[in-house]
């Protein structure tokens, strides 16, 4: 415990002597905290730890994970936005925290994504897939499904892992692009939704691959298509919804963020190293086993992507009149 006090004192003194430019060159001067806005043990947490390990080795300073779950990732991201922009606190954010929630419930989200936060790099895309219970829906393909839904407006129920998740909005986008009406049944998380999918309480869903895939392979559920722009890497035989509905894409993605004001040099160094990590074969393998696609983008590319996603989901939210007060 003496050591902690001592190192605190030393770093405080260093902070007084060192000039700002030096701090940038020397970054990271101390332990870097990665705020993960989800509970430990979830996919995002696991991914953060994989990348954190790499960063730790690359920069020679500890990168520790702090889990700040709650309010659908808003709590954790808000904490990043409030942190000192010295590069020692960074965070992870996802589709719902950056592109959906700030527009779905603007009153309750205490940050503006591209104003209070700096996008560092996006590191993965988690494809949603369109899965049905074939005992409940007599269809074998996306066109058949659309036709069936048009004949039975409001009669078919789809499950989602919650209001304002990318899975919920994927289904809304699908309805808007096909002109169909499906009944929304929200669940608190995917697990119980999948139970009800298998039990036939709800007939279709857009959700992540990991929980669904075993049941698709086991024959209890049928995967009609992926919600990615192109066919997904995990199974090239499964068509993309976009083949029938050009432009349809609804993926969940994750990326690193930093508080606004974090020096550009630090953001660039961090982004470069995360990109290097995402290009390693073992990272790609690890991510694909968990149902995600590893990607590597520059800060600029990530910022543009967030802006595009915000525009896209804003339109869907407005059209479906989903905004919550």
């Amino acid at each position: 415990m003496k050591k902690t006090l001592f190192s605190l004192a030393v770093s405080a003194c260093l902070g007084l002597i060192a000039s700002p430019s030096m701090a940038k060159d020397e970054w990271p001067t101390d332990t870097v905290k990665i705020i993960v806005p989800f509970t430990a043990g979830g996919t995002t947490d696991i991914f953060a730890r994989v990348i954190g390990d790499h960063l730790q080795k690359a920069f020679g300073k500890p990168f520790i994970i702090e889990n700040v779950p709650g309010a659908g990732s808003v709590n954790g991201i808000a904490q990043v936005a409030r942190s000192k922009p010295d590069g020692l606190t960074i965070g992870i954010a996802s589709t719902s925290g950056l592109a959906i929630n700030p527009q779905l419930r603007p009153d309750q989200v205490p940050y503006k994504p591209l104003k209070d936060l700096i996008p560092v790099t996006m590191f993965d895309k988690v494809p949603n897939v369109l899965v049905i219970n074939s005992g409940k829906l007599p269809v074998k393909s996306v066109p058949e499904l659309i036709e069936y839904l048009k004949k039975n407006p409001g009669k078919v129920a789809y499950g989602s892992s919650g209001v304002g998740t990318s899975q919920h909005l994927a289904a809304e986008l699908f309805q808007q692009m096909t002109g169909t009406k499906i009944t929304h049944v929200p669940y608190p998380g995917s697990a119980r939704m999948v139970t009800d999918m298998i039990g036939g309480q709800v007939a279709m869903t857009f959700d992540n691959v990991p929980l669904l895939l075993p049941h698709v392979q086991g024959g209890k559920l049928t995967m009609l298509a992926t919600a990615t722009a192109k066919r997904a890497a995990f199974d090239e035989k499964v068509p993309a919804v976009a083949e029938f509905l050009p432009g349809f894409e609804a993926v969940a993605w994750h990326g690193f963020i930093a508080p606004a004001g974090t020096p550009k040099e630090i953001v660039d160094r961090l982004a470069a190293e995360v990109q290097a990590c995402m290009k390693k074969p073992e990272t790609i393998k690890k991510f694909s086993e968990a149902g995600a696609e590893a990607v590597a983008t520059s800060p600029k590319e990530f910022a543009d992507y967030i802006a595009a996603e915000m525009t896209k989901w804003k339109a869907v939210i407005e059209k479906a009149n989903l905004q919550v007060k």
């Binding site: 043990g41 979830g42 808000a78 309750q108 129920a157 919650g162 209001v163 929200p186 999948v194 990991p210």
Partner: protein, 500 residues
């Protein structure tokens, strides 16, 4: 036979030196965090998950499972000794267990809890091994309407938890239901009763409510008693139950185990309901129903067996279908994912040593817990001899750390403090906290299932009576209400509580 071959594979895995060691570490840690009020298995498993990266998946899961059921054991110890339920499953244990302790029978209560848990653990492990796939199907046949009716049955049963006025018990349940609704509504995304306070967006955590209403409120009550606070240590009788105790306890253990094994399979509330259901059931059929609330041994034996059996069988949906039925199981999914095992029906075929090893380790773990806990009985009872002026600050410290560690947020401590004032005042007005806690746990689930059932039936209320499972549960509820309303029984009930 397959089962025997499978179990022998399981035991061969579970009894390897490394797995034994980690099962032991898991049980020990689990007991420790279970005994410490407020620190639950969810927080602990979440913290320790990264530590298990380096272990083999089977070993990692064995250890994490050990923490989970070890915490169930440890949790009942605190509930009995200091009236502090750290988990929803030990709320009912606190009712009669604490009263037994006050009457000098802390040792007997602890032994009963341990024995009941061990027996239930053994039986549930066998159930798990023999019927896991068949039982998993049962969970799928439960639709939202059925769950709703199950919750209704549970809430009506909660009235029986109370030993005082029925009307007050119903009011307390309603208060609990309302408190449970605080937070983001699952169906609409609307924030209810949050008043713009971010810490309330996800609702109040169960641990805050339990620590506030039971822990802090009890401390305040005891402090204000001044010299009148009874020291129940000078009346400690033997640790071992008498023959008469045994005779009363055994059938309760059997019944609790059965109830728990069945209810534990249902995701979303099944395991929580099991201990309450067992208590209600015991109180209804017992010859000594007037002793309930004052230290009836069945009131400890039944629920404790039920919650341990349910803890064990709640692994069934996870192991057979890859579907987590509660927060701990969700972390287990995370643990499997880390080790590149996709939880799901194929685990049994692809990783038989993991599947059967984990099951066998549960039995081994239960045995370890008994061996670990029996010699500890004396030590735990000794804890009661610590003067209260030293004991209560320690309770406060552990409660505060427990609620803080839920999500590293001090707001939880403030919420708990407010609830404790609430709990203290209500206790002064003769209102009991246990029915309120059950309402708090079941309320949001009940609403969720109710609304989901109606969305799926397109607004037709008949869905609750056309579903055979739902209908029979509602009939059972009506039966329970009739029993409570029948004058003769009511009279007996009132007589029993006149002396209060």
């Amino acid at each position: 036979m397959d089962l025997i071959a499978n179990l022998s594979l399981g035991f061969a895995t579970a009894l390897s030196l490394q797995n034994l060691l980690y099962a032991f570490i898991g049980c020990l840690l689990g007991t420790l965090i279970g005994v410490l009020p407020g620190i639950g298995p969810v927080a602990t498993i979440a913290m320790l998950l990264p530590v298990t990266y380096g272990l083999s998946p089977t070993t990692a899961l064995i250890m994490l499972a050990g923490i989970f059921y070890g915490a169930q054991y440890g949790g009942s110890t605190t509930a009995i000794l200091v009236n502090l339920p750290g988990e929803s499953s030990s709320v009912v244990t606190a009712i009669d267990g604490y009263q037994m302790a006050r009457r000098g029978k802390a040792g007997t209560a602890l032994f009963t809890a341990g024995f009941g848990s061990f027996f239930a653990g053994c039986v549930a492990t066998l159930v798990l091994a023999a019927f896991a796939p068949a039982l998993a199907e049962l969970a799928f046949s439960f639709g939202p309407a059925d769950y709703f009716s199950l919750m209704v049955l549970g809430l009506v049963g909660a009235i029986i938890l109370s030993s005082g006025s029925i009307l007050k018990a119903i009011c307390m349940i309603l208060m609990g239901l309302l408190l449970g609704l605080i937070g983001t509504d699952v169906n609409s995304g609307v924030m209810r009763y949050t008043f713009g306070i971010p810490a309330l967006f996800d609702g109040i955590d169960f641990v805050c409510v339990a620590m506030g209403l039971f822990g802090f409120a009890e401390v305040i009550s005891n402090l204000s008693l001044k010299d009148k606070r009874e020291t129940f240590t000078n009346k400690v009788s033997g640790l071992w139950p008498s023959m008469a105790d045994f005779k009363r306890m055994l059938p309760a253990v059997f019944r609790g185990t059965t109830l728990g094994s069945v209810l534990g399979i249902l995701p979303g509330g099944g395991a929580v309901l099991s201990s309450f259901a067992a208590y209600t059931f015991e109180k209804k059929i017992s010859k000594y129903s007037d002793e309930f609330g004052k230290g009836a041994i069945e009131g400890v034996a039944g629920p404790e067996s039920a919650n341990n059996a349910a803890a064990q069988t709640s692994f069934i949906p996870l192991l057979t279908m890859g579907i987590p039925s509660n927060a701990v199981m969700a972390l287990m999914v995370g643990a499997m994912t880390i080790h590149n095992i996709t939880p799901g029906p194929q685990v049994m075929q692809n990783n038989p040593e993991l599947f059967w090893g984990l099951i066998a380790s549960m039995w081994v773990g239960n045995l370890m817990l008994v061996i670990l806990n029996l010699p500890m009985l004396g030590v735990w009872v000794k804890l009661l001899t610590i003067p209260y002026r030293f004991l209560y600050p320690a309770i406060l410290v552990f409660c505060c750390i427990g609620v803080y560690s839920l999500n590293s947020n001090v707001a939880n401590i403030y919420i708990t403090a407010i609830l404790s004032v609430f709990g203290y005042v209500l206790a002064k007005l003769g209102c009991e906290a246990a029915p309120m806690l059950l309402g708090f746990v079941l309320g949001p689930m009940m609403e969720e299932y109710f609304r989901r059932a109606l969305i799926l039936s397109q607004g037709s209320y008949s869905t609750f009576v056309t579903n055979p499972i739902s209908l029979s549960l509602l009939v059972a509820t009506a039966g329970l209400i009739t029993i409570m309303a029948v004058p003769s029984i009511k009279k007996k009930r009132q007589e029993a509580f006149q002396e209060d």
